[in-house]
Symmetry: C2
Subunit: 346 residues, 2 copies
């Protein structure tokens, strides 16, 4: 039997990222891959990758981690992230050739053989941009949904602060919180992003953290009565300032701490004592624990998208070759909205 081998461009991690990310930490390699699932490889799915997700947490995974719960990406191996893919071949009973799927096991490569699929979702509704399935309809959307509604226990009329608010998750947290009836302020790192928050996403207010010499003062200005809910994407000094400005019984959903990812010695948070009198609940979470809510989430969010009630901004870079520079962009905050790499349009 003739085996159909094709070229497979891949983005490979050259070495552990230690401190700041450089474009030279990644390289393009061309490998070959068989267009059929090898004999005896049951329960596998061979996919063609269409859209790849470029999320800040990848930078963490490229370092040498002492967090056993996060898989490190090993030097010499292809980056793996969330992606939207098309099934080319399947020996798994749940997936069929021709189906579109999204999940966390897409390689940064043209084709991926997923040997043990998990958290792989079939794409049913194709009336929306396919790239949304690595954004509002994928992991970032579920993160915003579960983080806000399940972890933050919001009540109508409460005050909400979101950091990295123009990012893949933040823009949705703000919009969900507004729809729910909260007062929402976001922070981001440029005038353009702040304008987006106020004029496009409908945040009540927003500020550019890079223009604030003292976060405490900035928060007091925006929340004279204090903060009920903080959706934390950045950690560090901002988290400390938020704790100073939290109200009694406040809740903090810790989604990520992007300000800390590249520091050799992370910043200390010095005011945790205030958790006691303020009776603050601070909770880290990982979205995979909430994927059972995905059907319920789709039911809520799909009509909102179609009726224009929720808006989603993406920053799409073209071609697999653009992935390293896209990642670097996320790392320095150059992207506006969810950073996606379009590997192929179909």
């Amino acid at each position: 039997m003739e085996v159909d081998m094709v070229m497979n461009k891949q983005i490979v991690l050259n070495n552990y990222v230690n401190g700041s990310l450089k474009e030279s930490d990644l390289s393009l390699r061309t490998s070959t891959i068989c267009m059929e699932i090898p004999h005896g490889c049951n329960g596998a799915v061979l996919v063609k990758n269409l859209y790849l997700s470029v999320n800040p947490y990848l930078i963490l995974r490229m370092g040498k981690l002492d967090i056993p719960q996060f898989d490190s990406i090993l030097p010499g191996s292809t980056i793996v992230s969330y992606g939207v893919s098309k099934v080319l071949d399947s020996t798994h009973p749940s997936y069929e050739k021709g189906e579109l799927i999204w999940g966390s096991q897409a390689g940064w490569e043209e084709y991926t053989l997923i040997q043990n699929p998990y958290n792989l979702f079939k794409i049913q509704d194709k009336d929306v941009p396919l790239s949304y399935y690595v954004g509002i309809l994928g992991m970032p959307g579920m993160t915003a949904y579960a983080g806000f509604f399940e972890i933050c226990s919001p009540k109508k009329g409460e005050t909400v602060f979101v950091t990295a608010a123009a990012g893949s998750v933040g823009q949705l947290v703000g919009q969900f919180a507004k729809m729910f009836g909260c007062y929402v302020v976001g922070s981001a790192g440029s005038k353009e992003k702040v304008d987006l928050l106020k004029n496009k996403f409908g945040f009540d207010d927003a500020f550019n953290y890079k223009e604030e010499s003292d976060y405490d003062t900035a928060l007091k200005r925006h929340f004279p009565e204090g903060i009920d809910i903080y959706f934390d994407n950045v950690g560090g000094k901002m988290l400390e300032a938020v704790i100073n400005n939290m109200r009694v019984h406040g809740r903090i959903a810790v989604c990520g701490m992007v300000s800390q990812y590249s520091l050799k010695q992370p910043e200390g948070v010095h005011n945790l004592l205030k958790l006691v009198p303020k009776q603050i609940r601070m909770q880290g979470f990982v979205v995979v624990d909430y994927y059972h809510l995905y059907p319920k989430f789709l039911e809520m969010v799909l009509p909102c998208i179609k009726e224009g009630k929720v808006i989603y901004v993406e920053d799409i870079s073209e071609g697999l070759e653009s992935a390293p520079s896209a990642l670097l962009g996320v790392y320095v905050g150059r992207n506006i909205g969810n950073q996606v790499v379009a590997v192929s349009r179909e």
Copy 2:
């Protein structure tokens, strides 16, 4: 009408405590007090104080706080804390002359006029030492009960770590956790306390934190599989080490942070990023929110005390004059068990 005035010895705060507590921050003053509630003063209770509670959080309240949720004790005023008292006169419909009560409004003085009583509980069961009502049957008992059962959401077989474990609250958290079916390790600051934990309170294991150069190593030794529940009484570096050793879905009840109370610049906690992959919930709490559970708590704990299933160790110092030195003792960890000042035995 003749007014019955008597002498009233009081312990007064001389100045805000800034940094470390000194005995000279407090002084004994003799004042006079009327043995009847003044005319027109409705809803008040005049009490004779029997036992006063000497809790670490008092040291916080003696400083200049920027925590609006905690009342500062003002220089020139009498220290106020939890106490067991006898009602001498009452214009409040709920309390009668001769009744014994406990609550948070006892002055460090022989007699206190409580003008607006709140969180004041009648003592019904007198088959136990009265001083227990500033300990196992009072605020510390309820703190251990609510903190462990309501905040920590324990499951049988989980691993529990308690700091300040020989203290007023810690000794009970450990015993409640053992009764519930958890594996419990405590830390304390002397050999004598560690022996108490292991031999009297039935902790599975215990260690003297002062003999450990590296908390991380100590915790790895005692919890090779990690910690599910941390009952935090100390904060700071120990909290940081615990976060390193927490298991996925761990819970931290933040009850107090005694290691931080006297620091001008509190220690930073540098590894909060780990809350995310470990999905840790960290929650500050204040016992007054849980006093509605007091009857349920008594129902559980009174039989345990009478049957010897729960043991409570107190450190009673005699006479109001001993209160400043007792407080200093708590501050440096000299007390063994709950520190109480016996003002009067009846």
